[in-house]
C-alpha cells in the first residue's frame, strides 16, 4: 500500500461525514483589496489573548511606549506577550470588556495614541537559516505570534514539540460564510505567506506540506500556486466546499484520512496545522522583526455601507470599526464577532479587536433572521446526519436538557466541536449548541467543585490530626509537670510549707474581697458585668434588625419574608440557647439563621451607623477598664486589652454553659 505521503501527493482526498451548505455571501466583502485604516485615538490591549496563562505586565501607568514594544513579559509555560499597537502613553491598566462571549471584563492595558506611530527598534534577521531552531522559536514567542485561525494557540508551543511531523497542513479553507480575511490575504500577499510557510517547514521538516483552500476561492488558489511555483514540497490542494471543512479535525480527515484521537492533539498522529494568517505573521516576525500587532478583519453584513477587509491594529475598539464601515443601526442591532456559524454576539461596542477576531458581522433582520420560538425535538435525525463528528445531537440534547451529565458524557459530549451545523439544520430551531455549552460548563464546574471538595476533605483530616497531636502534647506536658512537681515535693521538705503558705494567702485574699469598692472588683464581678453588657448589645442589635425587617415587611420579594421567618424563630432560639447547653445541631441552625439575619440587617444599616456604634462600645469598655486613663490615649492598645477581657469573660461564660 503506497505510503500516506505518496497518496496525498497523488491528489487523493478523503471526506468527512455530515456537513452543511450555508449560503456563502462572500462576494459582498471581496470587491476591493485590503484597506489601511487611520489610527483610533485610544487602544484597549487585552492582556490575555491566547490559550494559556496571563503574562506579567511590564509597563506602568503613564509610561511612554513605542509601536511594537512588549507590554508584558513571559515568565512561565503557555504564556504569550502582547505588544503596543502604536506609540503613545499608557493611560491606565483596568478591567475592560474583552472579546469573549460572556462580555465580562478582564485586565486590559489602555493606550492613548500620540499619533506619530513611531516604531521601536526591530531586530529583523535577514537569513533565518543561520539561526538555530530554538532561537527562531524564542523569537516567535517574544513577538507574540499566536494562531489566527480562531483558537489563538501560541505558535511557539506547536513548533517546540519533538515528535517528527509527517504532514504540515496550511489552513486556508475559511469555510465560515461571510468571512474573507484569509482569502484577501492570500490574493494580496501570497509570496510573504509562502516564505512564512518555508519558516515552518524549516522548523518542522515535514515530509509534505499541503496548503488547503476551498474550491470556491479560485483567485486565492491561483495566487498561491504562482507563489509556490518553484517549491516541489508544497502542494496547493483545492478541497470541496462544505462547512465545517475548515475545522482542524475535519481538515486533517479530508487531507490525510486520519482522525485525531479523542482528547489528543494533531501532533499525536504526526500532523500539524497552521493558519494562513499565522504563516504571514511568522514571516513578518522572523524576517522583519515586527510583533503581531495587526491583522486583516472583514467588516461585512448588510448593515455596513462600505463592507470589505481592513488592516486593523490589535486593540482597536469595535466602535471605531463600525464608524469606518459606516454602520447603519437596525431596529434590534446585533454585532457578531466571527462568522454566522461560530461567532459570538458582542455585549457592547467598546470591546477591542483581539488576535482571534477575524470578522465583524452586522447582519440585517432579513439576512440572518433571529431565532423565533423553539419547538420540541421530533428526533428527526437531520442533526445526526449533519454532525461532522458523527455524534448523536438529539440524544446529547435530550440528556443535557435533563441535566443527566454522565449519560451526556457517555454520548461523548466533549467531542462536540460546537460548529453549529446541527442547530443550523434543526427544523424545530432548537439552539442545540447552547444546550451543549451549558452542559459542558456545568460538568466542568462540577468537576472543579469535586476537586475542591477533595482538597477540603484532606485539609479537614489534616486539621483533625493536628488537633489530636496538640492534645497529646498538652497531656504529655501536664504529665511531666505533675511528675516534676511530685519529684520536687518528695526531695526537699521546705516545698510542703510553700504550698501551705500559698493556700493561706489565697484564703486571706478572699476575706478582703467582699467589702472593697466596685472599681477594684475581682474578676468574677467584672465578668458578670461584661455578660450583661454583651446581652444588652445583642438585644439592641436584634431590636434594630427587627425594626428594619418590619419596615421592609411590605417589600414583595420572597427572600425577605423568608428572612423574617428566620428572625422570628431566631428570637426564641436566641433566648433558649443562652441558657441550656444545646447540641451542635441547634447551634449550627442558629448560626445560619443569625448569619442570614445579620446579613439582612447589614444590608439595611449603612456602613456609617455600624462604625459609630462599634466606636461607642469601645469607649464604654475603655472607661470601665482604666478608670484613671483619659480616653484619647493610644486607641489600639486599649482596644486589645478590652477585647481580651471580653474574650476571657466569654470563655468563662462558655465554661459555665458546658
Amino acid at each position: 500500500m503506497e505510503s500516506l505521503v505518496e497518496k496525498i501527493k497523488s491528489g487523493y482526498m478523503w471526506d468527512f461525514p455530515g456537513g452543511v451548505f450555508p449560503p456563502e455571501r462572500k462576494k459582498m466583502s471581496l470587491r476591493d483589496p485590503i484597506q489601511q485604516l487611520p489610527l483610533p485615538s485610544r487602544f484597549y490591549v487585552t492582556v490575555k489573548q491566547h490559550i494559556g496563562e496571563k503574562a506579567k505586565i511590564s509597563v506602568a501607568v503613564g509610561d511612554k511606549v513605542l509601536k511594537g514594544q512588549a507590554l508584558t513579559q513571559v515568565q512561565g509555560p503557555m504564556q504569550l506577550p502582547v505588544h503596543a499597537p502604536t506609540s503613545g502613553i499608557v493611560e491606565s491598566i483596568t478591567d475592560h470588556p474583552i472579546p469573549h462571549p460572556s462580555g465580562l471584563n478582564d485586565q486590559t492595558i489602555i493606550i492613548t495614541a500620540d499619533g506619530n506611530d513611531e516604531w521601536c527598534l526591530k531586530q529583523p534577521t535577514i537569513n533565518y537559516l543561520t539561526l538555530s531552531k530554538v532561537e527562531i522559536v524564542d523569537k516567535l514567542k517574544a513577538l507574540g505570534v499566536a494562531g489566527l485561525g480562531g483558537a489563538a494557540f501560541p505558535t511557539y508551543v506547536k513548533h517546540s514539540n519533538s515528535q517528527p511531523v509527517e504532514v504540515l497542513i496550511i489552513n486556508g479553507v475559511e469555510c465560515e460564510p461571510y468571512i474573507t480575511s484569509d482569502d484577501a490575504l492570500m490574493q494580496a500577499y501570497a509570496a510573504e505567506i509562502v516564505s512564512g510557510i518555508e519558516i515552518f517547514t524549516h522548523l518542522l521538516k515535514p515530509e509534505v506540506v499541503v496548503i488547503a483552500i476551498e474550491n470556491n476561492k479560485p483567485k486565492a488558489i491561483q495566487a498561491m500556486e504562482q507563489a509556490c511555483a518553484g517549491k516541489t514540497q508544497f502542494i496547493v490542494r483545492a478541497i470541496p466546499t462544505k462547512y465545517p471543512a475548515g475545522g482542524e479535525k475535519q481538515l486533517i480527515q479530508v487531507v490525510t484520512g486520519k482522525e485525531v484521537p479523542s482528547g489528543g492533539i494533531p501532533a499525536d498522529i504526526r500532523v500539524v496545522t497552521q493558519n494562513i494568517g499565522t504563516a504571514y505573521a511568522a514571516y513578518k516576525a522572523i524576517v522583519h522583526g515586527e510583533p503581531l500587532i495587526e491583522r486583516v478583519v472583514t467588516l461585512t453584513g448588510e448593515q455596513f455601507k462600505k463592507p470589505g477587509n481592513r488592516w486593523v491594529r490589535i486593540g482597536t475598539p469595535v466602535e471605531f470599526l463600525l464608524k469606518q464601515g459606516e454602520y447603519q443601526q437596525s431596529k434590534t442591532p446585533r454585532i457578531i464577532m466571527g462568522g454566522p456559524m461560530m461567532g459570538f454576539t458582542l455585549h457592547n461596542a467598546q470591546t477591542p479587536i483581539g488576535k482571534i477576531s477575524n470578522c465583524i458581522l452586522a447582519p440585517s433582520e432579513t439576512e440572518l433572521p433571529p431565532a423565533t420560538n423553539e419547538q420540541a425535538c421530533i428526533r428527526c435525525g437531520f442533526c445526526a446526519d449533519a454532525c461532522p463528528a458523527s455524534l448523536l445531537p438529539q440524544q446529547l440534547y435530550w440528556h443535557s436538557k435533563a441535566k443527566e451529565y454522565e449519560k451526556a458524557q457517555s454520548y461523548k459530549l466533549f467531542d462536540c466541536i460546537e460548529c453549529g451545523a446541527c442547530a443550523y439544520v434543526c427544523p424545530s430551531e432548537i439552539p442545540l449548541v447552547q444546550y451543549y455549552r451549558v452542559a459542558k460548563s456545568n460538568i466542568r464546574l462540577q468537576q472543579a467543585e469535586h476537586e475542591k471538595a477533595e482538597k477540603a476533605k484532606e485539609r479537614f483530616n489534616a486539621r483533625n490530626e493536628r488537633l489530636e497531636r496538640e492534645k497529646q502534647e498538652r497531656l504529655e506536658k501536664h504529665k511531666q509537670a505533675a511528675e516534676a512537681r511530685k519529684a520536687a515535693m518528695s526531695q526537699d521538705p521546705s516545698a510542703q510549707d510553700k504550698v501551705a503558705a500559698a493556700l493561706a494567702r489565697a484564703k486571706a485574699k478572699k476575706q478582703t474581697d467582699a467589702p472593697s469598692p466596685e472599681t477594684k472588683a475581682n474578676p468574677k464581678q467584672s465578668a458578670a458585668a461584661a455578660i450583661a453588657r454583651a446581652k444588652a448589645k445583642k438585644a439592641k442589635a436584634q431590636a434594630q434588625a427587627q425594626a428594619e425587617t418590619n419596615i421592609s415587611q411590605n417589600e414583595p420579594n420572597v427572600e425577605n419574608t423568608k428572612l423574617d421567618a428566620n428572625t422570628q424563630n431566631l428570637e426564641p432560639t436566641e433566648k433558649t440557647n443562652d441558657a441550656p447547653a444545646n447540641s451542635a445541631a441547634d447551634k449550627a441552625k442558629a448560626a445560619i439563621a443569625r448569619a442570614k439575619a445579620k446579613k439582612a440587617a447589614k444590608m439595611k444599616q449603612d456602613e456609617q451607623a455600624s462604625i459609630a456604634s462599634s466606636k461607642h462600645d469601645r469607649q464604654q469598655e475603655k472607661q470601665q477598664e482604666t478608670s484613671h486613663l483619659t480616653n484619647n490615649q493610644d486607641d489600639k492598645e486599649a482596644r486589645i486589652k478590652a477585647a481580651i477581657a471580653k474574650a476571657k469573660a466569654k470563655r468563662k461564660q462558655l465554661g459555665e454553659d458546658k
Binding site: G103, K403, A453, A456, R463, K589, A595
Partner: protein, 188 residues
C-alpha cells in the same frame, strides 16, 4: 395416619437438606463490611459546615447509609442530591427548606474579614474546619479565598463580628453559559 407421618417426615428431610445447603453457602459466601459509607462521603462536598444537622460530612454519610434522607446538604445542592439518589436507588427530593420557591442555585459565598476591625483573637481560626484562615494571636487574620468552602462557621464565634460572606464573582474562565438568562445589556 401414616400419610401424616410420611408427609411430616418428607418435609422434614427436605427442610434439612436445604438448610444444610444454605448453611454451607452462608459460610462460603461471607461478605465483609459494606464500602457504601465512604462512597457516599466521596459525593458530599466536604464543607464540614454542619448545615445538615450532623457535625461534618462523614457522620452525615453514615446517617445516609442507614436510612437518613438525602436532601439535607445545601452546599451540595441538587447535583449532590441527584448523585445520592442514583447511588441509593431512592427518589431525588428537592433540597430541604427550598421546596417552596423555585430551586435557584445556592450562591457560592466566601468568607471575608474586614481587616480594620479584626482584633486577632484566633477564635475564627479554631472554628474553621479546613484551616482556611491565616493568622495568629494578636496578629491580623485573613481568609485564603481558594481554600474557603463558604461553610459560614467562622461568622458566629467572631467577637467583633468582622467576617462577611461575600458571593464569588465569575471570572472570564469560570464564567458559565446561561440558558435563558442571555441579558440584553443597555450600555452606552
Amino acid at each position: 395416619m401414616t400419610i401424616l407421618i410420611y408427609s411430616l417426615l418428607a418435609l422434614g428431610i427436605i427442610a434439612l437438606i436445604f438448610g444444610a445447603i444454605l448453611g454451607y453457602a452462608n459460610i462460603k459466601f461471607k461478605v465483609e463490611s459494606d464500602p457504601l459509607v465512604d462512597q457516599i462521603d466521596e459525593i458530599l462536598p466536604q464543607t464540614q459546615c454542619g448545615q445538615c444537622g450532623y457535625p461534618g460530612c462523614k457522620p452525615y454519610a453514615e446517617a445516609i447509609a442507614n436510612g437518613d434522607d438525602i436532601n439535607k446538604c445545601p452546599p451540595g445542592g441538587d447535583a449532590t442530591i441527584q448523585k445520592l439518589a442514583d447511588m441509593m436507588g431512592v427518589e431525588a427530593k428537592p433540597l430541604a427548606g427550598t421546596e417552596g420557591d423555585d430551586v435557584q442555585e445556592p450562591v457560592k459565598t466566601v468568607a471575608y474579614i474586614r481587616e480594620d476591625e479584626c482584633i486577632g483573637c484566633t477564635k475564627c481560626i479554631q472554628a474553621c474546619p479546613v484551616d482556611a484562615i491565616v493568622g495568629a494571636a494578636k496578629h491580623m487574620h485573613t481568609v485564603i479565598e481558594d481554600e474557603c468552602t463558604g461553610c459560614d462557621l467562622c461568622v458566629e464565634p467572631c467577637p467583633v463580628d468582622c467576617i462577611d460572606m461575600l458571593p464569588v464573582q465569575p471570572k472570564p474562565d469560570t464564567w458559565r453559559w446561561q440558558l435563558q438568562a442571555i441579558p440584553v445589556k443597555q450600555i452606552n
